[in-house]
Every structure is written in structure tokens, then in C-alpha cells.
């Protein structure tokens, strides 16, 4: 055994094994992810739409006082795409479609991040408790989950949002209340399967505490399907959210794709297609991009494809 001096402690920080190993793993997944062309398409789309959300104030000037409210230009209603100042045309109420499309990406990003972030945490905790404790706790939690799952997602979210009253925040709450059950289900199944593994027993055999076994042996092995589901839900949540907005469960006049589609749909019959088409296209691209990446991620994280 050599003396630990400051000089070879310098070497130790260079030889930070955990970090290097993590990078190796990360690049491995990244490489498998980018070897799939459809996933690359999805990634590029997501990157573009994220850039759109981040740089929104630089692309179009923010509306005052509330940037998430559509600017109204009553002097230029029902203008077709190509009109100077309104590239993608305007709606019946003089809303700039281009502004709605750009700032709508921010709204959508908020919606999906809040909903997926909160439900992932809640679902993971509840699913883990059910899987780890088992017995009547598991029974009670899973019956609650069954009740939630027995009602179709959209209908259930619609009912909750309707009860809470029309607002964008309420849409987030409604979606979160509907979606957490999926994560609880996935997590419970994972935990039950993983805790029977020999390596969990092996960890118990060396005297590890229950918390440590959960954090080091069970959770890291269980998160893969949760991550995939979260990626898919990033797209699906926006789709359902836009549906709820479309039927008027969101505040009227906010820069949100669903609201914009609904504002424009009155004009479709009279040939003013643009107000609905562009935000509709964005919803489609958003959902498509996350679904492509989600599928790619599922393949890339599958341990059976590891090292291929």
C-alpha cells in the first residue's frame, strides 16, 4: 500500500473512474441512438423546436404586457400568408399566426415538462412503494391505479379540466392527474421483477441498508422503461393538451397551438386554411418527433442490444 500524498491524490481526481465510466456509457447509448436514421430525424426536429422555444423573444418581439397572450392587430384581420408583418397570415381576430406558432412552442414545452416531470416523480415513488412494500399497500395502490386506468385518458382529463374550470394551469393539473398512473404501473412491475434478482440478494448479503439497495441496485435498473415512457409522453401530452385547448378548456386568446387551431377552424370553410394548418402542423411534428426519439431510445437502452 502506498502512502496517500497530495501528488497521487491529484492523479486520483484524474482517475475519477465513476465519471469516465458514466461518459463511456452515455456515449455508447448516444452512438446507438444516432445509428438509427428515424431517431436522428426526431432528434433534429426536437432540437429545432427547442431552439424555437428558447429564442422566441428574438424571433418575434414579445407581446406586452403578457407575452403568452396573442397580439391583436385589428387593422389586419384574415390576411393570407405572405402579408408583410404577418408571414403566416392572421386569424379572424387579427392574431398573428407566426407569433402563435413560435410562442406556442414555449407553451407546449412548459405543458409537457410540468406534466411529465411531476407525473414521473409521483408515479415512480408510488410504484416503488407498491412494489417494495407489497401486501395490502400494493393492493390498495394498484386498485386506485386500476380505477384511473379504466377511464380513457382524454375523457378523464377532459372531465377534470371541465370541473376545475377553463385555464391553462388546470389543463396541466388535469393531465398530471391522469398520467401518473402509467408510471406507477411501469415502476411497480419493474421493482417487483428486479427485487427478485440475485444481485439484490447479493447486496443484502453484504449488509447493505434497504435504502441503499433501492437507490443503487433497484432504481438504476428500473428507470429505462420509465425514461422511454416519459419521452413518448412529452409528445402525447401536447397532443392531449391541444385537444383540451381546442374545445375551449384553456384561456381564450393565449399563444397555444390548440387554441390557435380552434380560432382558425371557423375560417376553413371559407378557404382561410392557414390559421389552423400551421399550428396543427406544429402539434403533429412535436408529437411525431418525441415518438420517434422515444422508440429509438427504447432500442438504444435495451440491454439486449448493448455492445452490438
Amino acid at each position: 500500500m502506498s502512502e496517500i500524498t497530495d501528488s497521487n491524490f491529484e492523479k486520483a481526481s484524474v482517475r475519477d473512474t465513476a465519471f469516465r465510466v458514466r461518459m463511456r456509457r452515455f456515449f455508447g447509448v448516444l452512438q446507438r441512438l444516432t445509428s438509427n436514421p428515424t431517431t436522428v430525424v426526431g432528434l433534429v426536429l426536437i432540437a429545432l423546436m427547442l431552439a424555437m422555444a428558447i429564442f422566441a423573444p428574438w424571433i418575434t418581439e414579445a407581446n406586452t404586457p403578457d407575452a403568452y397572450q396573442m397580439p391583436r392587430d385589428w387593422g389586419a384581420v384574415r390576411k393570407p400568408p405572405g402579408t408583410p408583418g404577418h408571414w403566416l397570415g392572421t386569424t379572424n381576430e387579427g392574431g398573428d399566426v407566426f407569433y402563435g406558432v413560435i410562442w406556442g412552442s414555449r407553451t407546449s414545452l412548459q405543458l409537457s415538462l410540468y406534466v411529465v416531470g411531476s407525473t414521473m416523480v409521483i408515479g415512480t415513488i408510488i410504484g416503488s412503494v407498491a412494489g417494495l412494500v407489497g401486501g395490502w399497500v400494493d393492493e390498495v395502490l394498484m386498485r386506485i391505479v386500476d380505477v384511473f386506468l379504466s377511464i380513457p385518458e382524454l375523457i378523464f382529463a377532459l372531465a377534470i379540466a371541465a370541473v376545475l374550470g377553463p385555464s391553462f394551469t388546470n389543463i396541466i393539473i388535469a393531465l398530471a392527474m391522469v398520467i401518473w398512473v402509467k408510471y406507477a404501473r411501469i415502476m411497480r412491475a419493474q421493482v417487483i421483477q428486479i427485487k427478485q434478482n440475485d444481485y439484490v440478494d447479493a447486496a443484502r448479503v453484504i449488509g447493505d441498508s434497504k435504502l441503499n439497495i433501492y437507490l443503487k441496485d433497484i432504481l438504476p435498473n428500473a428507470v429505462t422503461p420509465v425514461t422511454v415512457q416519459a419521452t413518448l409522453d412529452m409528445g402525447n401530452v401536447v397532443l392531449i393538451g391541444a385537444t383540451l385547448s381546442f374545445i375551449g378548456l384553456s384561456e381564450a386568446g393565449i399563444a397555444e397551438w390548440g387554441v390557435l387551431v380552434s380560432e382558425g377552424q371557423a375560417g376553413i370553410a371559407s378557404g382561410r386554411w392557414w390559421a389552423s394548418t400551421f399550428p396543427g402542423l406544429m402539434i403533429f411534428l412535436w408529437a411525431l418527433a418525441f415518438n420517434l426519439v422515444g422508440d429509438g431510445l427504447r432500442d438504444a437502452l435495451d440491454p439486449r442490444t448493448e455492445g452490438r
Binding site: 500500500m1 496517500i4 486520483a12 482517475r15 473512474t17 447479493a202 441496485d217
Partner: protein, 413 residues
């Protein structure tokens, strides 16, 4: 059974252990009144066919039973941790094979009734276990180094702090890291100065300890191995890692649950050699669970033969193999093919293992035994000595006094 003078040298003794499983058809008596001792420094082989309860018995030492549906229905597993050798006060003498420690110090503890906290202190430190399939016993998301570290963090916090040059009364996040009791936010504290340096020193000390433990199992380039994930290693290498982890804290008792079953024969020989060498150097007692008779004969000092949740015969390896007294043991030995066995002729014991759902009061081997008589159907034989240290549970050696006692001379079929 052992005589009284030897009793103090037992590192562990199992008394009337009963483990039941609740199934839909009734209570399965998987382990039904098993008693045996493990002497200090010996290798005890536990042989039997699949489902006879040998793994459950081994796991009960660490209280590793699936609860529920596994139910500890009774019995005791007392374990006597090593203390300083009474003859030489830890200096190392003949009696303790120069290790300075022997199983005569502390009072025995009942592993089945102590608190979980005490159990955790024994697990991995005083009693370790090697699993059957090393591919499944290593966490796929942790590197070998990280996995090996756990055992040191769990049981060798003081030594770790000492090696890292930190005071033994170090507190806060650094201490919690060294004792593996992480709290929320500790990771962040340890990433930045002033604690970052201490964390790095601990990592160096930890890496040293892991490398030393790995080097003991003769793996090539242990420092490099630490960065590898389990799936990047061969089966033999994985089992070496498991052995290194199991023996890292110098346990007094090692439970080896068929450690070579998943390996091929050439690797098996080397792993056995390794276990044998490490065991003899450290004077660790080993409970070797296996279904391979020839292997047990080669490496074990004593053998216990299990059948249907009971021990039917126990004794020194020479006694049991030279003079098997139980028909089941005889059947097992006859079933081992040798070089002289004619083609197409493999001996087998007729019938199958009985269902252990509410077993009736009769010999468990009745129905498969070639020597069985009416006595065997009416009474349940218990384990009785035939000679010093050799016991058997059969009416052939211990007749009940009735007329139709079974005998090896009379095949009844």
C-alpha cells in the same frame, strides 16, 4: 453429532431448523427439522438433489428467505463470531493456524432472532455468501469497482478513514459517504471544495482496498478490472469478483451456494482451488452447497446428505463415502457414473422426490427405498450416531425393535 468437547469449536450450529412455504395446496415443509454443526475452519458439504432444501438451509444463515411466502417455522441457527484466540491472545499460534482468531471468543448469537440491524452487521462481514450464477449476482449498472466498494463502505469505515489519512472522528458528509449512509444533497457537497479533497482521498483508499481484495483472487490487472461492467467479463472472472467481495472482510463463515454450477469444468477447477486456498489461509469455515458428489468428496472435510427437507446422513467425507449407511446415500453414489460404467447403463434411484405438502409420519425415503419394510411406513427415523461423528436417519442401523426391521441384506422392492 459432535461430542461435547468439540462443541466449543463450532463456528455455527443449526438446531431443528424448520422453513415452510405457504402454497395453494397447503404448507410445504421445505426444511423440516435440520440440525448440524459447522466446525471452525472446516468445509462442510451439503449435498442433495434439487428442491431438497439445501439452498434454503444455506440462506437461512443470512436470513435470506423470501418473507412471505417463506416462513421460519422454528429452530435456531447460532453463530459464534471469531474473537481473539484464547491460547495466544491474538499473537498467532498452532491452535488458531497463526490467524490469532478462533471461534471461542464471543457468546453465540441466534441468527434467526437478532435484530435486522445486528444482522446487517454480520452479513458480508462475519458471514458471506457466494451465489450460483455470478452473471446474475452482479448489478449490471454498477462497475466492478463500485460494487466491491460497497462491502468496505459498509463494514470497514474506520479502516477506510485511516487509510485516507482522515481523523477517525470525521463527521458530516464525508463520514456519511464512508459509512454509506447517504443523505440528500451529500453528492453535491462532496463535489465541491472544501470536501472534494477528502472525498478524493477516500476514493484512493477505497480503490486500494478493492484492488488488494481483487488481487487475492489472482485476477490479472485488478486496477483495470474495476472500471469494467459485469457484462464485459467472463463467467470465471465474475465468480472471482464475487469471491473477492465475499472474502473482502475476512468472514468467519462462507456460504457457497453451488458456486461452480454455472461455470465450465476447467474454470470450475480453478475456482475451487482458489476457494480452497483462500479458505485455508484465513481459516474460514465453508458451507459448500452442491449436488455434485465427486466435487464434494474432493474438497469437503465433512458431508451432510439432505433429502426432502431432512438431513439423512452426516459424517466425515471418508466415513460417508467409504461406508454410506443410508439407502439414499448409497443410491446417490451408485448413480455417479465412473470410467468403467458400461454404455447405456446409468444407475438411478427409482421414483421421484415426494411432495412436501403436509408430509405424513413415515420415512421420507419410503416408496423409493429398495429395503423398505412396514416399519418405515409407520415411523419417522431420526438422525442417530452410528460411530463417532457419523450419524444416519434410517431403521437399518437403528431398529425400532419390531420384527420387520429393514436390512441391507434384504431387498424388498
Amino acid at each position: 453429532m459432535l461430542d461435547a468437547t468439540q462443541a466449543s469449536e463450532n463456528v455455527a450450529s443449526v438446531r431443528d431448523l424448520k422453513v415452510h412455504f405457504q402454497s395453494k395446496r397447503g404448507v410445504v415443509h421445505a426444511v423440516d427439522g435440520v440440525s448440524f454443526d459447522i466446525q471452525d475452519g472446516e468445509t462442510l458439504g451439503l449435498v442433495g438433489e434439487t428442491g431438497c432444501g439445501k439452498s434454503v438451509t444455506g440462506r437461512s444463515f443470512l436470513r435470506l428467505l423470501p418473507v412471505p411466502p417463506g416462513i421460519l417455522a422454528g429452530g435456531a441457527v447460532s453463530f459464534r463470531p471469531h474473537g481473539p484466540c484464547t491460547a495466544c491472545e491474538g499473537a498467532g499460534c498452532e491452535a488458531c493456524a497463526k490467524t490469532g482468531r478462533r471461534a471461542s471468543g464471543d457468546q453465540p448469537v441466534d441468527l434467526l432472532s437478532i435484530s435486522l440491524q445486528d444482522m446487517r452487521r454480520i452479513r458480508g462481514d462475519r458471514i458471506a455468501m457466494i451465489f450460483q450464477d455470478p452473471g446474475k449476482a452482479l448489478n449490471p449498472t454498477l462497475t466492478i469497482g463500485a460494487q466491491m466498494s460497497e462491502v468496505f463502505l459498509q463494514h470497514r469505515t474506520a479502516e477506510l478513514l485511516d487509510r485516507a489519512g482522515l481523523p477517525p472522528d470525521t463527521a458530516g458528509a464525508v463520514r456519511r459517504f464512508a459509512a454509506q449512509e447517504p443523505r440528500f444533497g451529500d453528492g453535491l457537497i462532496l463535489k465541491f471544495p472544501p470536501k472534494r479533497g477528502q472525498r478524493a482521498k477516500l476514493q484512493v483508499a477505497l480503490n486500494q482496498m478493492v484492488t488488494e481484495a481483487l488481487a487475492e483472487t489472482q485476477v490479472p490487472n485488478p486496477a483495470k478490472l474495476m472500471d469494467r461492467f459485469p457484462h464485459e467479463l467472463s463467467g470465471g472472472m465474475r465468480q472471482r469478483v464475487m469471491i473477492a467481495q465475499a472474502l473482502a472482510c475476512n468472514p468467519d463463515l462462507l456460504i457457497a451456494d453451488e458456486p461452480t454450477t454455472a461455470l465450465d469444468v476447467t474454470v470450475e477447477a480453478r475456482i475451487l482451488e482458489l476457494i480452497r486456498a483462500l479458505q485455508q489461509r484465513r481459516k474460514t469455515s465453508v458451507l459448500y452447497i452442491s449436488h455434485d458428489l465427486s466435487l464434494v468428496r474432493r474438497i469437503c472435510d465433512r458431508v451432510a446428505v439432505m433429502y426432502a427437507g431432512r438431513i439423512v446422513e452426516i459424517g466425515t467425507t471418508e466415513d460417508v463415502f467409504a461406508n454410506p449407511r443410508h439407502p439414499y446415500t448409497r443410491g446417490l453414489m451408485a448413480a455417479v457414473p465412473t470410467a468403467g460404467t458400461a454404455r447405456g447403463k446409468l444407475a438411478a434411484i427409482r421414483g421421484t422426490v415426494p411432495e412436501l405438502v403436509d408430509p405424513p409420519l413415515e420415512c421420507r425415503f419410503a416408496g423409493r427405498c429398495p429395503y423398505e419394510t412396514a416399519t418405515c411406513r409407520q415411523n419417522d427415523p431420526s438422525l442417530q450416531p452410528v460411530s463417532g461423528g457419523h450419524s444416519v436417519a434410517c431403521f437399518i442401523d437403528h431398529p425400532t425393535g419390531s420384527q420387520d426391521a429393514p436390512s441391507f441384506d434384504r431387498v424388498t422392492e
